[in-house]
Symmetry: C2
Subunit: 343 residues, 2 copies
């Protein structure tokens, strides 16, 4: 693994390498001020002495790192649950972290994980290849990307990606809306700048909606915050919504309720992600399910396979295939039926 070196600590503290070593081993005569500078540099760089690093590399810890964008998002809570349950069956425990949907949060957690004793990591990455992610991938730790791809990492990357294929679910959603008499649909996208996977949903929607409903049938929200995106679409006359990012759908449910727009009567909606709230809402909200349990289990199994291959005395191919889980439409009561009484 690519740990911080003693040389980097010496540079940061502006002392010699032997001075750092003396502080570490509590030998030699070092002034209190110098000692403090070295300790500060160690803390700042999260340096691990070689002896510890060696032991960390040596034996299996049966511990896995798991990074998700937001634990408050029920979709990721379900994903965590599926991953940890599958790993737990195999005797593994997870150290979970949240990036708070930010590259900075992701890199901070990955930096911390590097100093922990783990056998592998599952990452739901943010946007593009960041310095912290790049550094993390330079280690020889088995890693799996789950749920989201990142740009800036080639098709020939050795990191397997387990995610969902948005096409089947979006296609069924638009077909079903058309069958109910909806002639135009607005799309609200979520933080696409942070996620090529969210961007893909919007692109798939745009192309399928244009094909099935014509060019006027696909109305893409402005690239702005959720509330402005929703009110912007309402102002443009949109009354049928597909949400590519479920937290935006929750914002919409609150907005509709506060403004007297009854779902399933005044407005229609379908959201990505089969979370409990959509099932328990009145009316129940139709969803494009990513089969989150299947995805989590397959992600965990892919990592288990990579770790087995790495630690086997006869290592097989130390690579795993990418895998896409098809999305599914689960139709509930949130779509107005215009088919008997077409507008």
């Amino acid at each position: 693994m690519s740990y911080v070196t003693i040389k980097e600590v010496a540079q940061e503290a502006e002392v010699s390498v032997p001075a750092v070593s003396q502080v570490l081993n509590n030998t030699g005569r070092i002034s209190d001020a110098t000692r403090q500078r070295v300790l500060d540099a160690i803390a700042k760089l999260n340096y691990i002495p070689n002896s510890a690093a060696r032991s960390m590399r040596s034996s299996l810890t049966k511990t896995i790192g798991l990074l998700v964008p937001d634990i408050r998002n029920s979709y990721f809570a379900s994903l965590i649950s599926a991953v940890t349950e599958e790993l737990s069956k195999n005797g593994y425990v997870c150290l979970i972290g949240s990036s708070g949907e930010s590259v900075k949060g992701q890199d901070t957690f990955l930096r911390s994980l590097l100093s922990q004793r783990i056998d592998g990591t599952i990452i739901v990455p943010q946007g593009t290849i960041s310095p912290g992610l790049k550094r993390f991938l330079e280690t020889d730790l088995p890693v799996v990307f789950l749920d989201r791809s990142i740009s800036g990492i080639g098709q020939d990357s050795h990191i397997p990606l387990i995610d969902s294929d948005p096409l089947p679910g979006i296609e069924k959603a638009i077909q079903s809306a058309r069958a109910l008499g909806h002639s135009s649909i607005g799309f609200v996208h979520g933080p696409i700048a942070e996620s090529p996977s969210l961007k893909e949903r919007q692109d798939v929607f745009a192309s399928v909606a244009a094909e099935l409903l014509g060019d006027d049938g696909a109305v893409i929200a402005e690239p702005t915050d959720a509330l402005s995106a929703i009110t912007g679409l309402l102002d443009r006359g949109v009354r049928t919504f597909i949400f590519g990012y479920s937290p935006d759908a929750l914002v919409a449910i609150g907005y509709f309720r506060d403004h007297g727009l009854v779902i399933g009567k005044d407005v229609s909606m379908i959201s990505f992600d089969d979370i409990p709230l959509f099932e328990l809402a009145t009316p129940a909200i139709s969803v494009i399910s990513q089969q989150v349990i299947t995805m989590g289990v397959r992600g965990a199994r892919t990592l288990l396979g990579l770790m087995r291959a790495k630690n086997s005395s006869h290592p097989g191919p130390n690579r795993a295939e990418n895998l896409r889980i098809p999305t599914e439409l689960i139709a509930r009561e949130s779509m107005v039926d215009f088919s008997a009484d077409p507008r």
Copy 2:
């Protein structure tokens, strides 16, 4: 910290201490079978060689362990968010784990945490003092209990407890129900065997309801699963519910809907925990809020104080006070108003 010793590894593997040492240092002549037994014992006991353990104890890692009962429970997701945000402001990252509402899950995660490099831990504990928890508390790591107390640990424990005081919220809830003309209320308790805090809510309800509504006014559900508890109360004629554990309230919302019982018309309910689903439900559900953000922030600050005291060159009192956050009633639309038309 109380790590596993090389002697315990030797005993587990049924070999001598020097044999373990030879496997660790890859010296001497050890048969493959013996080596495997030693490696298995190391993995099983999660043994860390002394050199690593020493470094782990030495410097600050700016990493905290955080154990919660269930990440899928939105209440704990909010608690995690509050804790991690406050710690993050102070430069700390969290390694989060879930016990899955079981003592076994708790002890497994705590065992794994012991082999990680952390500066302190916040624990939402399960039930009673378990072997894994006991062992963990024997270390000199700063620990804070959050949200739930445990039995079997005395008032004079040095572990501070930050939790909510159920009395003010439950009292307001029953007063408000009485003002709306409800003469009897059923209480659904959640997994009280796993949590003295849930048990306390039931006891507080029983005593306040008996006082305000008379002995017939307090109907406690049987100690069984959520669905049986709810149907049992319905069979006993209960139409007004207070839920001490929000996941049970979600079960009830689904059950009521599937059986044509309209909340706010046919049945009335108030639940513990101010989670998004209750606010977005139709009708919006009244809640007894535990002020989860305040609780998380105060829990994090208590731990930060303990860590500062421990690492200060002039350590102050290495103890912290317990703290109870008062619960609050947030009245919404889920209670029928019988006050104009009393039954």
